[in-house]
Symmetry: C2
Subunit: 247 residues, 2 copies
Amino acid sequence: MIIAVVNQKGGTAKTTTTVNLGKALADAGKRVLLVDLDAQGSLGYSLGIQEAPHSIADVLAGEIDLSQALIDREGLQVVASQIGLADLELELAGMQERELLLAGVLQSVEESFDVILIDCPPSLSLLTVNALSAANQVIIPMQMEVLSLQGLDLISETITKIKAALNPHLEVLGILPVMVDKRRKLSSEVREHIQENYPFRIFDTNIRPNVRASEAPSFGQSVISYAPDSNSSKDYQQLANEVLNNL
Amino acid sequence: MIIAVVNQKGGTAKTTTTVNLGKALADAGKRVLLVDLDAQGSLGYSLGIQEAPHSIADVLAGEIDLSQALIDREGLQVVASQIGLADLELELAGMQERELLLAGVLQSVEESFDVILIDCPPSLSLLTVNALSAANQVIIPMQMEVLSLQGLDLISETITKIKAALNPHLEVLGILPVMVDKRRKLSSEVREHIQENYPFRIFDTNIRPNVRASEAPSFGQSVISYAPDSNSSKDYQQLANEVLNNL
Ligand SMILES: Nc1ncnc2c1ncn2[C@@H]1O[C@H](COP(=O)(O)OP(=O)(O)OP(=O)(O)O)[C@@H](O)[C@H]1O
Ligand SMILES: Nc1ncnc2c1ncn2[C@@H]1O[C@H](COP(=O)(O)OP(=O)(O)OP(=O)(O)O)[C@@H](O)[C@H]1O
Ligand SMILES: [Mg+2]
Ligand SMILES: [Mg+2]
């Protein structure tokens, strides 16, 4: 089970979702791998990983095996990234089969994990295309905002193209409403617009705004470890159940 | 006066700030140009521009003059972008002087405008480097959040390098706290950390969270036109005054 966490719109809780959904699945007994595909490295940073000896860039460049880049955190395995990943992305642009690099790398470890979650950068560039070509499922965390909606067409088109050309098994597991203030009229209008215009499921679980979720990274912890009784923890545990029930 | 609106962290109100600071400056009598440098095109979208006949990609590719790409909106001139800009960025990677393309293009119109604002994508890739090489001022809109702080080192480093190698006139006008809930302890902790560790001014103006700011794009308007009495309008008008007083 390989899940790409995708949204080219910035700041839609992709990293927060990858960390905390991953942690909730691990707590439910699954063997979980988190892969940071964003050169900015927020995923590793959120889990207290500073100066990782190896990063996903080294693995994609063929310099080391994925297994050498694994870091233990909170019962999860994590592959961190760092800024060199941006240069690698430029180099890859000239290569053959450049969209399938990650798929090849993950094949070697797919048997060792129940769930692999890939945190994507806020772009639809080559790294995100690699994630969508390697994954069998996609989660799209989205704010129920007008500017978030603008991006949904493009994600949808990109997924259709990748299904046709590179990865016929790709499915959208669902759109995850994040940081949603349910009282706001705009939020329900955006949600209805999605329901009427897109074929994707919208998760029943909504991730509510909660300060604990944004505090947790400063302690290098998932919010589930940092604030186990918070609404954020409960939301992500509920999401983990919904994900497992829908697979 | 050319201002790059920069932050590689996603969703930090770069686009919302470019639109509304631009509008407030135009209302104060300035001749203002807005340039959308993000292939996702949120700036044009926020001002109701659909299917622009020409985009900044055509201008950077040398196919048309900047003056042919100008679109009138609310007393501002706007150059929109579209998804082709992402492909252009890849093509540029192989070129000589590829960082100075935008600088060259803006030189031809600098006399016609008092303020040019450049909306940057959530990355420090070639397009943002072009913006930083063309600009004389930088505004960094930032949430007072831990994950926003992670990005500040990298922006700071990038600006230092560009000043040394490409654009000695580049100055950081200031960090703009956006969507800040002042009651939250984390917000003031992040702010203090910035004050103690970075040489940059933090604007006195804070952009408060306000639903009007996120509704305005669905009407294709700046929040100043859409909701002139809202806190968002007041905040951006106050920011315009602060910007003019600090230049
Ligand atoms: N449920 C939540 N409640 C409050 N704040 C949140 C929540 N989830 C995430 N945040 C905060 O919102 C900001 C954006 O989240 P995050 O960095 O996970 O988004 P992202 O989509 O990965 O961003 P990018 O596009 O830059 O990769 C961060 O400061 C994060 O701490
Ligand atoms: N003051 C505000 N109050 C409430 N919502 C806001 C405010 N400013 C911006 N927003 C909303 O927050 C989201 C992010 O804003 P915006 O798109 O301007 O950020 P950005 O930095 O340009 O994002 P990206 O990195 O994707 O380019 C949008 O949905 C926007 O409407
Ligand atoms: Mg992220
Ligand atoms: Mg933007």
